[in-house]
Symmetry: C2
Subunit: 519 residues, 2 copies
C-alpha cells in the first residue's frame, strides 16, 4: 500500500495518469507535487524514508525486549560520538587515518562496547598477520634466534632459528648474528622501537600510491617468515592469535594461509601437510581449553602472481590436502596484490577442475581502477562459484555483479581498515560498503591483517564500519546481523553452524545482559 501510494505520486510527478502503462514522458511534460497539502507531503516523505530503511542490511532483524534496552545504551554511545563529530568533523575518528587515531579510538566508550560484543567469526585474515606487535617482539627474545642485517645493522633483512650461524641466503645481502648480540650491540630500547616499526605499516599513514603501500606491506611478510616459519613458533603464533581473537569477542576463524613449508632447528624442512596438521591440532587444543570457541577452518591461499600451470599444481595440492583434512580444509583462494598479479581469467581452465567439495573464496575487486581486468575478477569469481568475495571494493561499480551476489547469496568480506591502510580509500564515510549496506547486499566484517596496523583482531574494523560506514540510524540490528552473518556465510556445515550459533547466542545473551545493567 505504501509503495502503491509512492508509485501513484511518481506517476503524478511525471505527468502520467494511473492507467497509462507507456514509457515516461519527456522532461517538459513532468509536473511536480506542489499541489499537495503539507500533510500529504509529510506522509509521502515518511514512506520514502521507511522504504529506504526497510531495504537496508539487517533491518529485518528482530530484537527482543532485552536487546531493545541494550540498543538504547549502544545508540547513546554512538550518538554522542556522531554528534561531536558532526559539530567538529576534524574530531571524527572515522574521517581520519587509523594510525593517527588508534589510541583515541580505543578510549572511546562505543569502542568499549564493541570490544566486548560477541562478533561471531573472522572470515578473512591471513596467516602471519594476526598477532599483536607486543607478541611478535616477545618472540624475538627466544633462544637460538639469529638476525640478518644490512647497512651496518640498521636494516633487518631476515630472521632464522638455528643452533649455529644460518647458512640460508636471505632476499638481500646481509650479515647474520645472534639476536641477543644484536640487541646488546644496538641497545634493547632501540631494537624494540625499530622492530615495532618494522613489524607494521606505521608510521606511514599516507603513501604516494597503493603500489608503494603494497611494497611496504609485502616486506613485512617477508621479514616475518624466518621468525614464524620455525615449526614450534608457528604453532605458538597461531595459538596466540586464537587467544587474542577470543579475547576480542571472536569465536570462529576462517584462515587464509599460503601453507609455507616450516623448518626445524637443524634446518630440516617440514612438509605442507605438517603446516596444516599444526593448525588443526592447535585449533583442537584451543577448543579443549575454551569450550565456547566455535572452531577454525582453513582456506589454502597461495600466491596469484604465477603462470597458469602453477595454478594447476595448486589445484592438485588442494585436492590432496582435502583428502587428508576433509573437514578442516574448507576452500581455496589466490593472494597477493591483485593489480600486479594475473587476473582470474588466466586461470579459469585449471580452476574449473577444482572438485565441488572445495569452495572458492576469491579475493577480487580490491582496486579503485574502474573497468580493468581487476574489476573483471569479480565476474570470474562469481562465475567460478565463489562462496564469498574477498574485499570486493570495486563491486559497487558493477550493477550486474551486485545483482548476482544478491541472488546467489554471496557475502562480501569487507575489511575497512585494510582498505584504508593499503590506500584504496581515505575517509571511512566514503567506503563502498555503505552502498552495500544501503542495498541489502550480504556482507561480513573482517580484519585481513590486523597485526600490521596494530589493531585489535576485529573490534577496530567493527568500530569504523558501525560509526563511519553505516548510516546514523544503524543500530544493534545491524551488529546482530553482521555477527550472525559471519557464521551463516562460513564454510561450516549446517549442523556445525547450528551448534556454532548456540555458542554465539550464549555469549551474546551475556553481553546484552551486561549492556542493560550498564543502563
Amino acid at each position: 500500500m505504501s509503495s502503491g501510494l509512492l508509485m501513484r505520486a511518481l506517476r503524478h510527478m511525471s505527468g502520467q495518469t494511473a492507467k497509462c502503462g507507456k514509457k515516461y514522458e519527456p522532461l517538459s511534460m513532468s509536473r511536480s507535487l506542489r499541489d499537495i497539502t503539507p500533510e500529504a507531503y509529510s506522509t509521502l516523505r515518511s514512506i520514502m524514508i521507511q522504504m529506504e530503511r526497510a531495504s537496508s542490511l539487517g533491518n529485518s532483524m528482530q530484537l527482543t525486549d532485552k536487546e531493545s534496552a541494550a540498543n538504547k545504551v549502544l545508540m547513546t554511545a554512538k550518538s554522542k560520538e556522531l554528534e561531536k563529530g558532526f559539530l567538529n568533523p576534524s574530531k571524527f575518528t572515522p574521517g581520519q587515518h587509523i594510525f593517527q587515531v588508534l589510541k583515541k579510538v580505543e578510549r572511546s566508550p562505543l569502542f568499549g562496547l564493541l570490544k566486548t560484543m560477541p562478533k561471531g567469526g573472522i572470515l578473512h585474515a591471513h596467516d602471519t598477520a594476526l598477532c599483536s606487535t607486543e607478541f611478535l617482539i616477545g618472540l624475538t627474545y627466544r633462544e637460538n634466534l639469529w638476525i640478518c642485517t644490512a647497512d651496518e645493522g640498521c636494516r633487518a633483512i631476515a630472521f632464522r632459528f638455528s643452533k649455529s650461524k644460518p647458512t640460508m641466503k636471505a632476499m638481500e645481502e646481509c650479515n647474520w648474528e645472534p639476536m641477543a648480540d644484536f640487541r646488546e650491540r644496538r641497545g634493547e630500547e632501540n631494537v624494540k622501537k625499530y622492530l615495532q616499526s618494522r613489524f607494521s605499516m606505521y608510521p606511514f599513514s599516507s603513501f604516494l600510491s597503493n603500489n608503494q603501500a603494497w611494497n611496504q606491506f609485502m616486506s613485512i611478510f617477508i621479514l616475518l617468515d624466518g621468525l614464524l616459519l620455525y615449526a614450534p613458533i608457528w604453532a605458538e603464533y597461531y595459538y596466540n592469535a586464537l587467544t587474542e581473537m577470543y579475547a576480542d569477542g571472536v569465536q570462529y576463524l576462517e584462515l587464509r594461509s599460503l601453507l609455507p613449508d616450516l623448518y626445524c632447528l637443524d634446518g630440516t624442512p617440514l612438509k605442507m601437510t605438517d603446516t596444516v596438521a599444526i593448525y588443526k591440532s592447535e585449533t583442537e587444543r584451543f577448543m579443549a581449553n575454551n569450550p565456547d570457541f566455535i572452531g577454525a577452518r582453513l582456506i589454502y591461499a597461495p600466491l596469484r602472481g604465477v603462470e597458469p600451470k602453477v595454478v594447476d599444481e595448486y589445484v592438485q595440492k588442494c585436492i590432496a590436502l582435502k583428502k587428508e583434512f576433509p573437514t578442516f580444509l574448507t576452500g581455496f583462494d589466490l593472494v597477493g596484490q591483485e593489480e600486479l598479479g594475473r587476473p582470474l581469467i588466466d586461470f579459469v581452465e585449471p580452476l574449473l577442475k577444482m572438485p565441488e567439495d572445495i569452495n572458492f573464496y576469491f579475493h577480487c575487486g580490491e582496486t579503485n581502477w574502474f573497468g580493468t581486468s581487476i574489476d573483471e575478477n569479480l565476474i570470474d569469481a562469481i562465475l567460478l562459484g565463489t562462496k564469498r568475495i574477498g574485499h570486493g571494493y570495486a563491486i559497487v561499480k558493477h550493477p550486474v555483479a551486485i545483482e548476482m551476489v544478491k541472488k546467489l547469496d554471496i557475502a562480501i568480506e569487507v575489511c575497512p581498515v585494510s582498505n584504508q591502510v593499503l590506500q584504496l580509500g581515505q575517509d571511512y564515510r566514503n567506503h563502498p560498503a555503505a552502498m552495500l549496506i544501503a542495498n541489502d547486499v550480504p556482507i561480513v566484517i573482517a580484519s585481513d591483517d590486523p597485526s600490521f596496523w596494530r589493531a585489535t583482531p576485529l573490534t577496530h574494523d567493527f568500530y569504523f564500519a558501525f560509526l563511519g560506514i553505516a548510516p546514523f540510524s544503524a543500530d544493534l540490528k545491524l551488529l546482530k546481523h553482521l555477527a550472525i552473518s559471519s557464521i551463516r556465510y562460513s564454510g561450516l556445515t549446517d549442523e556445525e553452524k547450528s551448534k556454532g550459533m548456540d555458542k554465539w547466542q550464549k555469549q551474546w545473551n551475556k553481553w546484552i545482559e551486561s549492556l542493560t545493567k550498564a543502563a
Copy 2:
C-alpha cells in the same frame, strides 16, 4: 536471449531447476558452474561483461563513422595516460589533489582534446566564482577602488569602489586606503601574490575537515563582494565569464546567483531587478557578438541558513522576478554549506507555494554523513519536484532516491573538482559518480566555482570525470552523451533546446573533423 542464458546459469549455480519459481535455496544447496566447459564459461563471461557495459551511461549513444575515427584518437590519448598511471599510480593525476597537478593536467594531450571539445552547457556554477584569477587581479587596477586591510595591511578584509574614502563598515575592523596607495606601499609583486592566494583556495589541498574548507571558501565570496558588486564591474565580470567559458568549449550557462543588490560609485544601491537586468542584457550582448552561443538562464539561489519565514520572502521575490523576466529566470535553489544550513524539510510549506512555472534545482546530498537530515534533503528535493540535483554526492547511498531520479529523469549535477576541494572525497577514482555512470543515472558535469580552484571553466571537471571517474572503456559515446545531456536537462524550452542542439552540433562536427585530421 543473452540475459536468458545468464538467468539459466544463475539458476544452475543456485541449485534450482529452470521450472522452479520459488525463492533461492540456502547456501548449502548451491552448486557452482564448474561442470561447464571453458568455452561455455567464456560465452557466459562475455555476456555478463556486455550486460554491464550496455547498462552504463551513454552506451546507447550512436557514433557516426567520422566520430568512430575521432574516438580512436581520443582513446589513444586516454589509454596512454591510464597505462602510465596503472604502472605508477603516483603519477596518475586523478589520484591526486588538483592543486598539486593543475599545470601537469593542462599539459596532458587528453586535456588538450577535451579543452577544444564542445561540451554543451554548464548547469551548475555560482555568480562570483566564475572568472580566472588573472581577470580578478586585473580588476584591482581599476580607478576608484579602495581596499580595507587589517593587521598592518597584511590581511585584506574588503574592497569598495568609491570617489572618496568609503564609509561602509566591513565584516571586521579594518582601514580603508586607495588600492593604488596600498599597492605602492606593499609592492606590486607582493600584492599580486597575496591576492592570487586570497582569491582562491590555494595552497590548502588538505584541510582538517570540510567545515574548515568551507570557512575558507566562504571568506573568498565575502572578500570579492565589494570588488564585484559595483554595477559596471558586475556586468564586466559576467561578460568575461561568458568569454572564458566560450573559449573553453561551453555554449550555454545556467547561473545560480544570490542576486545581491549592486552599488553605484556614489554608494547608491541598485535593486535586485537591476542585477537580473544586467545579467540579461550582458547575455544578449554576448550572443550578438557570438552567434554560436546558445544563451544563458538564471536560477535565483539565495542562502539556505535562514528562518522559514525568510524562504517565504524568497518565494515572493522569485515570483515577482519571474513576472519581470519570464524567459530569463528559469528556477530557484538555496545555497550555502548544506551541513550547517537548515534542511529542506524546514522550508516545505513556503516551497510548496512556488508556482509550477518556476523550476527547482536544489543543492542536496552534498555530504558524506550517511543517514542525516542532509541526506534526507535528497528525498525532499525529489518530492518537491526538483528538475536536477546539485551535487547529490550522497545519492548512491539511497537506492530509493536513485530509482526515483531514474524514473523521473532528474539529472545529477556532478562537480568533481568542487567535491575534492571542499573535502568530500580525495581520489577521483572513488567519486560516487562512477556508480551513477555504471547504473545509467542521468548526470551532467559542472564546475561549481572554477575561479576558486584556478581551473578552466569546465575542462578540468571533464578531464577528471572522463579519466578518473568513468571506467577505462568510457569513450566518445560518454562524452557526447554528457554534452547532449547538458542541453537536454537545461531549463530551455523544447524549441530552444532544439535550436541549441543545432548550434552545438555545428561546433561538434568541426571538432570531430579536427580530431580525425589529427589521426
